[in-house]
């Protein structure tokens, strides 16, 4: 959420593939949170497309590029989110 608060219009979380996490199954833990956030976004009226998790291994260059392009495309289709206002002093 910090990213959204500071002006990001979308957040992509790129993690290792299922079952290949360095730390047990932390990537799937993250996935659970992302799934919840997407549901929450829907609930509060924000497009769930703004947050996505992609699974790709470090060597999967094409997949990484495709992931980034995918979220860029999806987020560009959406209006920008409100930005933090300049707080005087």
């Amino acid at each position: 959420m910090e990213a959204f608060l500071n002006g990001a219009d979308g957040v992509a979380i790129i993690s290792c593939r299922e079952g290949e996490c360095n730390f047990g199954d932390a990537n799937m833990n993250t996935y659970k949170h992302v799934k919840f956030l997407r549901k929450l976004f829907e609930h509060i009226g924000i497009s769930p497309d703004r947050i996505q998790q992609y699974f790709c291994a470090a060597a999967e260059v094409e997949k990484f590029v495709a992931s980034v392009e995918d979220i860029t495309k999806k987020v560009q289709a959406l209006p920008p989110l409100p930005k933090r206002k300049l707080t005087p002093n």
Binding site: E2, A59, R84
Partner: protein
């Protein structure tokens, strides 16, 4: 083998599994389960009398099912340690062996033994398995009896093997006249494994040569994509065999059919002549590739290591750190890290041993504590982190406050996100540090007095 078993500094634990692992570099705690052999190791002399009295006969795994063994058996004549073992899954409990054993070594009431050890370093050499061709039945392996693998041929060629060093057709027991060897089965393939298994070319060449020595009239045809004999003296070896009247065909056979007379017809494209044709053979030998062993997978799970896309263990750096893993005290060598020939396996083993010895030559190791930290004033004692931690590194103390075990924590941060009270932070990777970073990436500058934030973009 004997050296390894007799060395005073080596505690040999055969028939054993690693079942638990914890700790950090320099101080690992490992739990080993010594599976019961149902034979008392101290009493068994390896005389083999019991094996002759056993009424059960099952295919011998060591000889790739070509020969037989009994329920109580010694894997092969030169086995180290030379001790009998009872395969309880097939044993019928007739106790003939117990009566036969002159040393009274048979112990049906033996139980698994759990051993806890403390070590400073770990070397993983869990090796390889043969490409599981029985599952894919490529080239009708498992369907036509005279389609075998190089390892099976290897066993037949062995003087101590099931056939005493003679090669027979499994279907009729006659010596084959025309033998085909197909390379790259299960390797360098889009359908099976993409990688080269590194040794199959040489193994096939060697076996072709051994066959030629034993049966000079035998027709041997090797079907290859490329012959890869890259290591020292190997190219010379290849040239030498090529000169011995062995037939080489560049092209991988596409189909195999059983003829009426029991021979097999291979259809193939002779790529050098642009000619699709076929030939009949008595015996087809498949050079099956190398895959990570099942033990490797188990070790990955228990030790929490990472593996590459093909299932082999990952080193830190393929060129410069080939035997090291992300865990400083754990090293990998041999085929567990990828297909290798024997000299290369030995080199990597010695490399790993050297790395381990370098570590162990220190008395003290300074370990960074990049671990989770609990803010006791915020912790609610909800047990969630305890349940989340994959490494069992967090436990609640008697005051219901979470405590991190410095030795077990790997600093993965899963507990940080699981804590509903936000009481956990990861040292050096704190939420605040990331928040500041995110602000930076989003282009938000922080003014010196820390009271004003300004948008720059």
């Amino acid at each position: 083998m004997v050296n390894a078993s007799k060395h005073p500094n080596i505690n040999l634990l055969t028939y054993s599994d690693i079942i638990n692992f914890s700790g950090i570099t320099g101080e690992y705690n490992v739990t080993i389960r010594k599976n019961t052999r149902y034979v008392d190791e101290r009493k068994c002399t390896g005389c083999g009398l019991c094996t002759t009295k056993c009424p059960v006969k099952v295919p011998n795994e060591f000889d790739r099912g070509i020969g037989e063994r009994s329920a109580v058996y010694i894997p092969f004549p030169q086995a180290v340690p030379k001790l009998a073992v009872i395969d309880k899954e097939v044993c019928i409990n007739c106790k003939n062996c117990e009566r036969a054993c002159p040393a009274e070594a048979i112990a049906f009431d033996q139980e698994d033994e759990i051993i806890n050890i403390k070590v400073g370093a770990i070397i993983i050499a869990t090796g390889w398995d043969e490409y599981p061709i029985i599952e894919t039945n490529e080239y009708k392996y498992g369907i036509y009896p005279d389609v075998i693998t190089q390892i099976e041929l290897e066993r037949m060629l062995s003087p101590i093997g099931p056939t005493g060093g003679h090669v027979y057709k499994i279907s009729n027991g006659k010596t084959p006249q025309r033998v085909a060897m197909i390379l790259c089965v299960g390797s360098r393939s889009l359908r099976a494994n993409p990688y080269c298994s590194a040794v199959c070319c040489n193994v096939s060449l060697k076996n072709a040569q051994l066959l030629k020595q034993e049966y000079p009239e035998m027709d041997i045809t090797i079907f290859y994509i490329d012959i890869r004999t890259w290591d020292k003296n190997n190219e010379e070896y290849y040239r030498n065999i090529r000169a011995q009247n062995v037939n080489f065909v560049k092209g991988k056979p596409g189909d195999i059919k059983l003829n009426q007379d029991g021979t097999m017809r291979l259809y193939f494209d002779m790529t050098l002549e642009d000619n699709v044709t076929h030939m009949d053979f008595d015996l087809v030998v498949l050079a099956t590739g190398i895959v990570p062993s099942k033990g490797t997978q188990k070790i990955v799970d228990i030790l929490g290591l990472s593996k590459g896309p093909n299932g082999f263990l990952s080193e830190i750096h393929g060129c410069l750190k080939p035997v090291e893993t992300k865990d400083m005290g754990i090293y990998i060598c041999g085929c567990a890290a990828g297909p290798k020939n024997i000299p290369y396996s030995v080199c990597s083993a010695l490399g790993a041993a050297s790395k381990a010895a370098t570590l162990l030559s220190n008395d003290i190791l300074r370990q960074e504590l990049l671990i989770a930290e609990v803010d006791e004033s915020l912790c609610m004692g909800c047990h969630r982190c305890e349940k989340t931690c994959d490494f069992e590194a967090i436990n609640l103390n008697e005051n219901d406050i979470a405590e991190v075990d410095e030795l077990k924590c790997k600093g993965c941060g899963a507990c940080v996100t699981s804590c509903p009270a936000r009481a956990i932070d990861l040292k050096y990777y704190r939420d605040i540090q990331f928040e500041e970073e995110i602000k930076g990436i989003c282009g938000i500058e922080i003014k010196l007095d820390n009271t004003k934030e300004e948008i720059i973009n």
